[in-house]
Amino acid sequence: MLSILRKARLKDKELRVLMLGLDNAGKTTIVKRIMGEDINTVSPTLGFIIKTIDFDGYKLNIWDVGGQKTLRSYWRNYFEKTDALIWVVDATDRLRMDDCREELAGLLLEERLMGASLLVLANKVDVVGCMNEGEIRERLQLDAIRTHNWTILRCSALDGLNLREGLSWVVQDAKDRLFLY
């Protein structure tokens, strides 16, 4: 079964995308927005939710995992052959930026994430007075990352800003690395 699945994944151009970040960052809202679902009914994720998004001929299996502290130890359970990591940051939450940086840095050390690219989404930019890209970049020390191919995008789950662009980046990166032929 596992080998059939592996072949099917290649043939159907499937990607495994892990969506992580501190709680309340807006991960579930982002997924729902992309799926065109109602975003007013989100509640904190207590486990994980898998959704498949068809995008540009690719199937993105997105694993949206709850970010509460008690759940973070579970993150590592989902690391199996992940193609891309989307790290969602709440751009209005200045207080927890240190926490956010440490969690991300720890994650990038995981062996099972070695082959994954990293998309950092600075969410909730619709809110006035939120951090700008440069500030987030600096406080998360993104420029020090050498192990992963990464980029950062401002986005908003509320008005949908840059969400498709984010997915495009993930898919394009996969095209360049995983689905060349």
Binding site: M1, T45, F48, T52, E111, M114, L180, Y181
Partner: protein, 1210 residues
């Protein structure tokens, strides 16, 4: 088990290095100073291939570099082609190590194709149309050249083109044929029908005006289409490409080719002609499938129906085409062709272009689907895979009604052979459930597992594409649930059906992924769950999750456990908040945690069952079935019993009581021949008795009433009734696997006795009688597991018996052992049990041994003597260690027995069987040391023996002796000589290292008396007769040690060492086992020059003593190794001035030895090392000229002459 994920991670990390290494090596392999090589070194090529092979696991990792790698290779080939297309490099001119460049390149390209697929690799081939001609020319020329020279015996070294070369070049040609302009533009020459005859394809009628280049291509393709090798596949591709070219079609060539191959395939199939060969037929079928798939509608449509007719006729005509349909390859090709046709005819545009009627289409579809459904049952797995793939692909093209019909047909086939065996019971106890489960399995006993695999696999593939409508889901899920627990046992007891379960797991994964929560929740759970217990309000998702949890924990196959875990994760992630404790469940039934069966079965199952009663129930029930106590191997059954014990710790007393009842009733329902299940179930009962849940009742002095409410009335008798009625035959008859019954019964008796003791529960005389009967029946068994469980049971029994009964039993067993030595076939069990109860018959006085103990000891010791079979000596020693020494008893008789056993070098046809005795003895000594039981006197006796073993040549013995020395070292202060053993880590490999031997040799410097000679003996054995690497390690350390000794004075010195050598040889003069290696070591030490350092200090007498010992050693011996060792020592002694003459004289006399080999050796030694300078000229000529193989009589005179010259010249 399956560790592929970790491999993936590793490969990913290593890939960057691998890739850059390849990038570096590639140009060097192919070119020198910019121009292409003619030959490449085999080693360099292989190295590159070795670097590529790992990528097989994750081919995409190669992708970023393909655009660099392949063109480099391809360019080299093109350069070579232009230079050498007329003649292939001759390989007889060079060493075997060289490979002609084209061959090397084609191998590389083939490896790349194998890893990444030929479609991807071939797109990097050079596409320039003007290569077509040279490539063709080269193929023709090289092929011809090799054939020509092949017939010429004077050039036998030339080999034909390899299959890799043909495969790659044909593939390349087919790529070149993609050129978008007419072939006629590439070659002006055209041919008529005649000109093709020269190319060997006689029956082919060519249309007019075909360009010559096309004819040559056609010739090559047709020539290789019937090949058995892989080149057939690229010949097919080439032929397809040629056939579907518009210009060829215009000329009529396409039609011509298709007709010709069809004729070849069919017309010769009738009785008049010969059938095409298997590979020819396969080639043609795959060509037809290729043409249909690739061709323009206009070109192929007219052929669809005729091709279908012939294909189907062949497929169903086993009489004429059995050789084809009966081969996995042939059958797969037929399936592929039929699939291609079916899918084509489903397209309206093909139908109209070919004028195919609706009726024809539906008959094609019906027949094809029918054929595929039958093929799903094929014995060959690849056929089943091909058929199920074809079936699902076709189904996906059908409209929904027809697709549903196919699913219907699959479901129908699945139920075909299922025996009607509905369970009648309607009650809901777990036990009835279990019986239902068993009935279910029996009802599947007659289905064909291969067919079920094929069918379930097809369902899974359809589910993956969400083809079946929701209305069919209940029926499908029912099948999948059954298939997830599918198992059959072959006549020999081998478990089959893992592939069915695997496919079911895949199917469930596909369902939970593809269908929405709503759709799945809408299904009535009653329609799919076979046994409905109290949870009738369960959802379908929950029912699935439970089954996945059970499979994840219990399935015997690691892949299925992991598959179930993955499916469970998918289920819970896709349908959040539908499963009780879903998230913790995923954490517990973790993908990595279930990899190891023992962990999955015990830890994971126990953790999962804590997350809900439903999981607990399902796991417990499944453990009582084939995946648990019904496992075919005893290891899994033991593990399951342990797991059942763990389950019992989670629940309350009432449920635990029910577990007893459930297990007992399953036991009751067993047939007397179901010995394995009984083994598992009895162990499970024992495990329940051991369970920690009773802990709280210990020592509470419960009243009988309380106890019976806790455990039921007459609890011990109830339990014992499970074994007390077992017939004696079950403990004896070979066919009944008596060792299983004995083990399980004794374990149960043990657990019961222990539990009764803890609960202070008294046993009736009958109960005692039952226990004793079981133990007595098991005592004669000789396997280790039974002996352990029997002796444990004996000990537990003794601890509840009064002293009179203990004595009686001891007497009885000793009687059997001592007086009935003949009647007790295998005394091992009795020996072990007597040892086990030793501590329990100590009597009241406390001081000294009781009479019973003395008797036991004497009985055991009487089995430590040489007239007893080795196995029983071992058993006696084990009993001594486990029973007597562990209870801190030692006597001088024991010490003597141990000492003798440490020296046991018995040999029989099995080899050094004495080593088993030595091993046991070492362990026993170790035990005694641990308890500090040995007096100084005893130590003086035993320590030297252990030191000897620490040097000897068997790894295992050395290792255990070393562990023993470490144990001793631990008792002593750090200044003690032995303390140096303390530091190193225990590791079997360590005792074969130089460091180890150096450490050992340090003991020679210590003042522990009596230890030197045995130690040297041991080391000499390794250094003189060990296997290669051991020999080297011990010799090196010995040489270093001797070299570092000072010659005289200051403790142990070289002179002392030389004395010790004499002593070792002297004591072992009649013991070749030590003597020969010792002589070898001495001559080795002479070779290294170390002994010569003592040449003066040792004094003439000392050396002379050695000389005479050597002489005694080989005196009248016919043992060649010994003679040869002795001669070598003489050679060494000859370098000691004081006795040079004597040594020479010895050797001279050996020149007349009756063995020619000895004479030659002696002559050689004299000649090479011992001739005095003054005599070199005269004597060496003499020595050399003489034929030392001639008879001693003839030689006598010469030897006398030599002797006169050499000895008298002093």
């Amino acid at each position: 088990m399956d560790a592929s994920d970790d491999r993936d991670v590793k490969l990913q990390r290593a890939s960057a290095d691998l890739l850059s290494d390849i990038e570096r090596r590639l140009p060097k392999l192919l070119r020198k100073d910019g121009s292409v090589r003619q030959y490449v070194r085999h080693g360099s090529l292989q190295k590159l291939i070795d670097l590529l092979e790992p990528f097989q696991e994750m081919p995409q990792l190669l992708d970023p570099k393909l655009a660099t790698f392949v063109p480099v290779i391809v360019d080299a080939f093109v350069d070579f082609l232009i230079l050498h297309k007329g003649s292939y490099p001759k390989s007889d001119k060079v060493k075997n190590d060289a490979i002609p460049l084209p061959r090397a390149i084609c191998r590389l390209l083939y490896v790349l194709c194998k890893i990444r697929g030929e479609k991807v690799i071939s797109r990097f081939f050079d596409h320039r149309p003007n290569l077509l001609e040279p490539m063709l020319a080269a193929f023709e020329a090289w092929g011809k050249q090799t054939r020509l020279t092949g017939e010429d015996d004077s050039h036998p070294a030339i080999v034909r083109l390899t299959w890799e070369e043909k495969y790659i070049m044909l593939l390349w040609l087919s790529q070149l044929l993609l050129a978008p302009f007419d072939l006629a533009n590439l070659s002006s020459a055209v041919v008529t029908a005649q000109s093709l005859e020269g190319h060997g394809i006689v029956s082919f009628k060519l249309p007019d005006n075909v360009p010559y280049i096309a004819v040559r291509t056609l010739t090559l393709a047709l020539e290789h289409l019937p090949s058995a090798g892989k080149e057939r596949e690229s010949a097919k591709t080439l032929l397809v490409r040629l056939t579907v070219r518009p210009d060829m079609n215009k000329l009529g060539l396409s039609e011509c080719v298709i007709r010709w191959v069809m004729e070849t395939l069919t017309s010769r199939g009738d009785s008049s002609g010969t059938n095409p060969s298997l590979y020819e037929a396969v080639g043609i079928l795959s060509f037809l499938a290729g043409v249909l798939a690739a061709g323009e509608k206009g070109i192929v449509s007219p052929f669809i129906v005729p091709i279908y007719r012939s294909a189907f006729a062949i497929a169903t005509d086993d009489k004429s085409y059995g050789y084809l349909t009966g081969s996995a390859l042939g059958k797969r090709m037929i399936i592929k062709l039929l699939r291609t046709i079916a899918i084509l005819t489903l397209r309206p545009e093909t139908r109209s272009a070919g004028g195919i009627s609706e009726e024809t289409v539906s008959s094609i579809l019906e027949d094809t689907i029918d054929y595929l459904l039958t093929s799903l049952a094929a014995a060959d797995t690849p056929i089943r895979f091909a058929a199920s793939k074809a079936l699902s692909q076709i189904t996906l093209q059908l409209d929904s009604d027809m697709a549903a019909e196919v699913v219907e047909a699959i479901l129908g086939s699945l139920n075909e052979d299922v025996l009607a065996m509905e369970a009648t019971s309607s009650s809901n106890s777990a036990n009835d459930d279990l019986l239902r489960q068993r009935t279910m399995r029996k009802s599947l006993a007659t289905v064909n597992p291969g067919r079920w695999h094929g069918l379930v696999l097809s369902l899974a593939q359809l589910l993956l594409r969400r083809s079946p409508p929701q209305s069919q889901l209940p029926e499908i899920l029912k099948v999948l649930m059954n298939a997830l627990t599918f198992e059959q046992r072959s006549a020999t007891g081998v478990s089959v059906g893992a592939n069915v379960r695997d496919a079911a797991c895949f199917g469930i994964w596909a369902v939970v992924r593809g269908y929405s929560t709503q759709q799945l929740l809408a299904i009535d759970v009653k329609s799919i769950v076979r046994s409905l217990n109290s949870q009738s309000d369960m959802t379908v998702l929950h029912a699935l999750a439970i089954e996945l949890v059970v499979s994840g924990c219990l399935d015997p196959s690691g892949n299925i456990r992991r598959g179930s875990s993955a499916a469970l994760q998918e289920l819970i992630g896709r349908h959040p908040d539908t499963i009780i404790n879903g998230i913790p469940l995923v954490q517990v039934v973790d993908y990595h945690a279930v990899a190891l069966r023992s962990r999955a079965l015990t830890q994971v199952a126990s953790d999962a069952s804590r997350l809900g009663k439903v999981y607990w129930e399902a796991l417990f029930r499944a453990m009582l079935d084939w995946r648990g106590i019904g496992s075919p191997d005893e290891v899994s059954r033991r593990m399951t019993a342990k797991a059942i014990g763990l389950l019992s710790e989670i629940i309350d007393g009432t449920t635990a009581k029910r577990m007893f009842a459930d297990i007992t009733s399953v036991l009751g329902a067993l047939r007397s021949t179901e010995v394995e299940e009984r083994h598992g179930l009895l162990l499970a009962l024992a495990s329940l008795l051991d369970s920690a849940i009773w802990q709280k009742y210990n020592d509470q002095n419960l009243s009988d009433a309380e106890l019976s409410s806790l455990l039921g009335r007459d609890f011990p008798s109830q339990i014992l009734s499970q074994v007390s009625a077992l017939p004696e035959n079950d403990f004896v008859a070979f066919s009944r696997r008596p060792e299983l019954t004995a083990e399980a019964s004794c374990v149960l008796v043990s657990s019961l006795l222990r539990r009764c003791q803890l609960l202070q529960l008294s046993l009736s005389d009958e109960d005692f009688g039952a226990c004793l009967r079981i133990i007595s029946l098991s005592l004669p068994r000789s396997d280790e597991v039974t002996i352990t469980s029997t002796s444990t049971a004996a000990r537990n029994l003794f601890s509840v018996l009064n002293s009179q009964r203990r004595s009686d039993l001891v007497r009885q067993w000793i009687d059997l052992l001592v007086n009935g030595k003949k009647s007790v076939v295998t005394p091992s069990g009795h020996l072990a049990s007597l040892g086990a109860v030793f501590a329990l018959v100590s009597g009241d006085r406390g001081e000294g041994l009781s009479k019973d103990q003395n008797d036991i000891l004497n009985a055991i010791l009487s089995y430590c003597t040489e007239n007893i079979a080795v196995e029983f000596r071992v058993a006696a020693l084990q009993s001594l260690r486990n029973g007597v020494i562990k209870s801190k008893t030692i006597t001088s008789a024991i010490v003597d027995a141990l000492q003798a056993s440490l020296r046991d070098y018995s040999v029989d046809q099995r080899g050094d069987v004495g080593s088993w005795v030595r091993l046991e003895a070492v362990d026993a000594v170790c035990e005694a040391w641990k308890h500090q039981l040995l007096s100084d006197a005893a130590q003086r006796l035993l320590l030297p023996e252990v030191c000897r073993l620490a040097g000897e040549k068997l790894d295992k013995v050395r290792y255990r002796a070393w562990l023993c020395l470490r144990e001793l070292a631990a008792l002593h202060s750090s200044t003690h000589a032995l303390s140096l053993f303390n530091c190193s880590s225990p590791d079997l490999a360590y005792v074969s290292t130089e460091t180890y031997f150096s450490q050992l040799l340090q003991l020679l410097l210590s003042d522990i008396c009596g230890l030197r000679l045995p130690l040297l003996e041991g080391i000499f054995i390794s250094a003189g007769g060990g296997y290669e690497s051991l020999l080297r390690a011990s010799r090196n350390s010995l040489a270093k040690f001797v070299y570092e000794l000072s010659v005289e004075g200051g403790g142990y010195n070289l002179v002392e060492f030389c004395k010790d050598i004499n002593q070792v040889i002297k004591t072992n003069l009649s013991n070749d086992r030590v003597l020969i290696p010792s002589l070898d070591v001495v001559s080795y030490l002479f070779d290294t020059g170390s002994l010569q350092r003592a040449s003066e200090a040792r004094g003439e007498t000392g050396w002379r003593a050695l000389l005479s010992l050597v002489q005694k050693a080989h005196y009248k011996s016919t043992n060649m190794p010994k003679l040869s060792a002795a001669i070598q020592v003489y050679a060494g002694l000859g370098e000691i001035p004081a006795i040079k003459q004597e040594s020479l004289s010895k050797l001279l006399s050996l020149l007349l030895h009756p063995f020619p080999l000895v004479r030659n050796m002696a002559a050689e030694i004299i000649f090479t090392t011992l001739l005095p300078d003054s005599q070199v000229n005269t004597c060496s000529a003499e020595l050399q000229r003489t034929n030392w193989s001639a008879s001693p009589k003839e030689l006598k005179e010469r030897v006398n002459k030599l002797r006169a010259a050499l000895i008298e010249t002093r």
